[in-house]
Subunit: 197 residues, 2 copies
């Protein structure tokens, strides 16, 4: 099975990728990390091991980009961080302005929207130090669906749960921003109406 | 198979629910609507029919609530609108303030986050006129995963795609709100600094 992760357009080629199953200790760690609360807590132990058997190891040097916001080709995969830390920045693709969002360590999943929709990446992700990650490509997911559909269904339920969590959090944030924007408009109107404040 | 949709706490009981499969013409329509772009366009025809065979018909009278923001029990199901229109409002559960978001007609899916995480509903949904909907409960999804895992996996991929779309749209909206809030703050500072504007 070839894997599109090997040729990430717009990013320096990762030093190498290989099936995680070739390194049993790392595969074991990946299966454990896949089930942490920051990743896909809902998965059963056996299911996680099956998923990991469809993943590839990818390494990034310190400072190397994992993704860039706006990356448009070969975006159809997610990464599970196995070791090292990844800085995530929101980026306004138009203006180039960035804003730090988070630093993610082992047991965090990155890029799950790309796995499903292959759309451009929505954030910059950069390796802070050497990063080892387990990659699952859309192609590998399709093989998993064909070969082990029940495991794939449970993986997808866990991924959907994760996206729902983010959607609810973002919805709450949006309500707060809408309120702030409303208050700022009211304050502006007040200041305009009574210049001496 | 019993179905939790029959007893939606906090809402008037829907007049009745029954397996969609008992009404072949409606089941056929549901399978078609499930594959419209507003619902789960990615699903194959056969897969959609299989999913529909696990759904129940639910009817709501004009003015009846489908969901209320904050509803906490029996939230684990989604609805596919078959006929009629549904008004969706964002609601601040604290203040009770609402804001119209959308009016959704046939071929729209509502409540898919609840299907997966069973968390409180995030919006008010009210029947504008008589609404027929096809409901898929978490219990039915679990049976689907057990009986037809490949279909379930594809359903979940389509649902995840849908959530990813919403997440990307909400992210874009948040960037706009953040910019507006920033500009409003700058305007307030300017007005404070030069009272005559």
């Amino acid at each position: 099975m070839t894997d599109s992760i090997q040729t990430v357009a717009g990013s320096p080629a990762p030093s190498r990728t290989r099936p995680l199953a070739e390194i049993p200790a790392l595969a074991e760690m990946a299966a454990r990390l896949l089930r942490t609360p920051s990743a896909l807590a809902e998965m059963a132990d056996d299911d996680a091991r099956h998923v990991v058997s469809y993943m590839r190891l990818i390494q990034f040097a310190a400072g190397a980009p994992l993704f860039r916001a706006g990356d448009m080709s070969n975006t159809s995969y997610l990464l599970l961080v196995l070791s090292g830390e990844v800085k995530v920045e929101a980026a306004d693709v138009g203006t180039g302005e960035t804003m730090d969002i988070a630093v993610l360590g082992p047991g965090n999943v990155i890029g799950e929207m790309g796995l499903i929709d292959g759309e451009p990446r929505s954030a910059n992700c950069t390796a802070v130090d050497t990063v080892q990650a387990a990659g699952l490509s859309r192609r590998a997911l399709d093989v998993l669906i064909a070969e082990r559909p029940a495991v794939a269904a449970k993986l997808m339920v866990a991924l959907t749960k994760r996206l729902a969590d983010r959607l609810r959090a973002l919805g709450d944030q949006l309500v707060i921003y809408a309120r702030l924007a409303h208050e700022a408009r009211a304050e502006t109107a007040r200041l305009r109406g009574s210049p001496r404040g």
